[in-house]
Symmetry: C2
Subunit: 583 residues, 2 copies
């Protein structure tokens, strides 16, 4: 799962510290709480202390287009943030001279930000004997992770920094992301930038941008301008090429990949505004009165699917893919593929004819995949599909047309079961199990006149109208083991996970609080795991640290929701369900 | 339930309009959607049109300290808001001269803002023949409700206003409020002011301020300054007398009563910081390992209850009550009384002695009520208690010491059952059923290491750690009939309702989105009901109107959460569960 032992040349003092500490069992040799989120995989801190950060503190780093920007940003941050911890670390301030430098060394300045890039780093903050902290990483992107860790170790006014500390850190999983749906409701670019910033703070590395859906098509494409012109919610609710470039470049500065998703062939009702002829069942009422669920036209209001039997669609799709691949340099391209609803295709005469000649709906999907997948891969992209293309009970394709070397599947149904099915078929997988990772769940439904709400009092409230209740708490997310039930070999195919915010009931007003700190919980689980050195789930310890981190995120401008009364921070352990541990 | 037929002298044109319309059955004679939230009880609008609002538009009103302020505020608002409706009303702009005046007349300028004050009003906006709109009300507070309605009828740039309209409006229930808990987490005064503003916008009239609890005591009291000095979360997390006065005066300007709650004798752990000797079981671990639930010390982390057997408490309580009554002029005083936990009292030797002499815990509570209730009522206050004082299965008082003329009970358990029990005992009731009105539910638990989260995948997720799951959707709140199961006589004792935001997992970052627009849903249900003229629940119609209203609240600076994809607004009826109605 990507865990490697770091073998950087270590300064002598650190080596001796390391040796000294090996007498204490366990990797994280020191019980002293380290206020870093996600928790580093390895740290040594035998004599927890703190030293002043010099007002002239500087960060030195080899020039790198994005790392230099990031280092300047972190420099400003550590000098001005003055975070006041809620839970004061009882660190002695040493009389050692203030820390003057953080010296960054990079082994390979050329590694691009891409899937699997080395994000490991080692950070040493001396307690005395040196005024230099050091940060070593193989890549600029690993150095960014280390800078984030360093920034979280700085607090108070005047700024002081935890010292006598050696951290060696590397993520368990390579792919750690967030899905945001900008079609059902629109998010201004400023929101997306703030999201990327918070993604980076949490050492997540992917913003999976579910840009379009049946509800709106906000992306302005040079080759298909009409899609946004007619399919966006409004003139002010579009993403131009400049906007996208701003998000992508911002992502680079923060070490966050932007993976675009143009969902198709389903979830494309909005395409019909510009191209009615290529979309089946567009603008129909989604679930006719008294029809069975199986006879719905879409999984939710907003109908429309591209018709793979219409030759015209391939021209449009090719234009879309080409433009998107040009705008988004990432090597992953998400092509959707979820929730193709039989009835929507079946209303189309061409589909009816095809079926009457003993064709199947799955064959129609295969035609679509065969006509689009090779084109996307020809643009040097790895294609991510939702699990449905392989696992849907009705409309799915043969694995033979989904080459595992070019295709990754993203699971969202049936928890670990579908992840198991996907890896057992030899595919790499990104886990977004709705039972654990869907941030919108447990919020009721959005339907206009759902009669299940109008029950006499006393009736079992059931799921409150939410198909994926209950609400996924940070603990639920934190505790989920995404390789649950897999063999060691199978586990290697698990690239990582993504929490998802679908936007039926979300937009700017709630984006931050719906995502944070719950996405932080996944961030730590996928970075250093959710267990302590004894293999026990560490959520009691994690609670205080996450609380502290949540307050720091808020002070950094991210409207993360609170997870406890402030009282719990002031009375550590007292908000647990069992006696507080005796230290 | 407070519904009265208005008998204002009506201008002749309105009378004829009224007569003309009586040929159409039903009260709300016009099907045309009126974008006002809550919906007025009666309106006549036979020829929906709009007229320009003159740039020199003015509001004239008799001088009234608070109404004059409100009228100036509304004048500024209608001239500058320029709300762009999502769902454009297809109103013809008449060629009539622009509206120049809104003329307010008040029957009684002296009525104070208090429970039961007349909030009715009548608003006439002519379509032609006059450049004056008129707003008649019995009281200044009713006029404020009418001004709000008027403001919601103005939209677009240049400003236009719906016209040819006569509204006669009066609330079904007198008491329509929101509980906010500022003890578990602190809210800056600016948040409270914004809350009051939004309360007023929604024609709610009470902010029930649950100021203190076991977690913090933020209220600075002149006679007991140590309570906040030691019990507040911090120097910056207090409410001074000036702060309170600001909130109270702001409430007056917005027609919102501020009802203070100092919860006691339970929920008082924070008092122990200043007065450890009067609090039992303070700072204990709330639920000892392996103890039964019945043997807990508090319902949640944060222990401590005033000890009614300690004479010292009455001195402190009297000081607290006196100061609070001085700071809060409202005639209601909420004295708490919920969740007294047996084990917390039982740890105290004086209680043990009392019990050993065949005393009961209920007798101890009776002593407390007998020693405090008469003092509060002597200050001309009606006392509100949580239902527990009467209905708790273990610790409760005899009705004989709770005179119904001085005491109101607020229900929160068992939905309509406990409301029924309270009114059957002859008490007036405020309904806050947790099954319907608790805004914090369905968000998981806040406990630090709750083992129910650490289950293998596939385990039934149950309630996700929330004692009152699921999330109360706006539809759940909207559909709740607070007089369900009551006789007509019993219903008269139902003063109204309050939604509640308990703050274990809420603070500034989420206040707006947790409260709005769900509290708006209660606002309409308690103002004009949740049914159309045929007696059918009107939530399908309400959805679009609430959506529109939510967007307007956002543009007014209230971060209300979205309830649907924007697509649903652009495609009215298409997000329902049955075929859209054919008009």
């Amino acid at each position: 799962m990507g865990y490697t032992i770091l073998s950087f040349p270590l300064p002598l003092s650190v080596v001796s510290l390391f040796i000294f500490c090996f007498s204490i069992p366990g990797i994280s040799a020191v019980r002293y709480p380290i206020n870093v989120w996600p928790k580093p995989t390895t740290f040594l801190w035998t004599h927890p202390q703190a030293i002043l950060l010099s007002p002239n503190f500087t960060i030195s780093n080899p020039y790198h287009r994005y790392l230099t920007t990031a280092a300047n940003r972190y420099l400003r941050q550590v000098l001005t943030e003055h975070h006041q911890p809620l839970f004061k670390p009882p660190l002695n301030l040493t009389s050692a001279p203030p820390l003057q430098f953080l010296i960054i060394t990079i082994t390979d300045l050329t590694s691009p930000l891409t899937h699997g890039v080395d994000e490991s780093y080692a950070l040493t903050i001396p307690s005395s004997g040196s005024t230099n902290a050091t940060l070593s990483a193989h890549t600029a992107w690993g150095a960014m992770r280390g800078l984030e860790t360093f920034s979280q170790l700085v607090y108070s006014k005047p700024a002081i920094v935890a010292s006598g500390l050696y951290i060696s850190d590397v993520p368990l999983f390579m792919h750690r992301g967030i899905v945001l749906d900008t079609s059902r409701n629109y998010y201004p670019v400023e929101d997306l930038l703030r999201l990327v910033k918070a993604v980076s703070m949490n050492k997540l590395n992917v913003f999976h941008w579910h840009i379009t859906d049946s509800h709106s098509f906000p992306l302005v494409l040079p080759s298909e301008p009409e899609l946004a012109e007619k399919g966006a919610y409004g003139e002010e609710m579009k993403y131009t090429a400049d906007d996208v470039n701003r998000v992508v470049e911002f992502g680079m500065e923060y070490g966050v990949r932007i993976v675009p998703e143009i969902d198709m062939p389903a979830h494309t009702g909005s395409w019909a505004e510009a191209h009615p002829e290529i979309v089946t069942c567009a603008n129909m009422f989604w679930w006719p009165a008294e029809a069975k669920w199986a006879d719905r036209f879409a999984s939710e209001p907003g109908t429309g699917q591209l018709n793979p039997l219409s030759p015209k669609i391939y021209e449009v799709v090719k234009n879309v893919v080409k433009d998107v691949a040009t705008m988004f340099p990432d090597s992953f391209y998400h092509a959707g593929g979820d929730e193709i609803i039989p009835n929507c295709w079946k209303v189309d005469p061409s589909v009816q004819t095809f079926l009457s000649m003993n064709g199947t709906l799955s064959q129609i999907l295969e035609m679509f995949v065969n006509s689009t997948l090779p084109y996307i891969t020809s643009l040097n992209r790895t294609v991510v599909y939702w699990e449905d293309v392989l696992l849907d009970p009705i409309i799915k394709v043969s694995p033979s047309i989904l080459p595992p070397e070019n295709v990754i599947l993203q699971t969202w149904n049936k928890g670990p079961n579908n992840t198991k099915r996907v890896v057992a078929s030899g595919y790499r997988v990104i886990v977004s199990s709705s039972d654990f990772y869907y941030l919108d769940c447990g919020h009721g439904g959005f339907l206009g006149n759902d009669s299940q709400y109008d029950q006499p009092p006393g009736t079992d409230p059931g799921n409150g109208g939410s198909w994926c209740e209950p609400f996924k708490t940070w603990q639920t997310i934190y505790n989920y083991d995404i390789t649950y039930g897999l063999s060691e070999t199978e586990s290697k195919l698990v690239l990582g996970g993504e929490v998802a915010l679908w936007s039926e009931q979300a937009d700017s007003t709630v984006m931050d609080s719906r995502i944070w700190p719950r996405a932080s919980a996944m961030g730590e689980a996928l970075w250093s795991g959710n267990r302590d050195e004894t293999g026990k789930k560490r959520y009691a310890e994690a609670t205080n640290r996450l609380n502290e981190w949540r307050y720091r995120m808020v002070s950094r401008g991210i409207g993360a929701e609170p997870i406890q009364p402030l009282w719990c921070m002031k009375n550590p352990g007292m908000c647990n369900t069992v006696q507080p541990f005796v230290s």
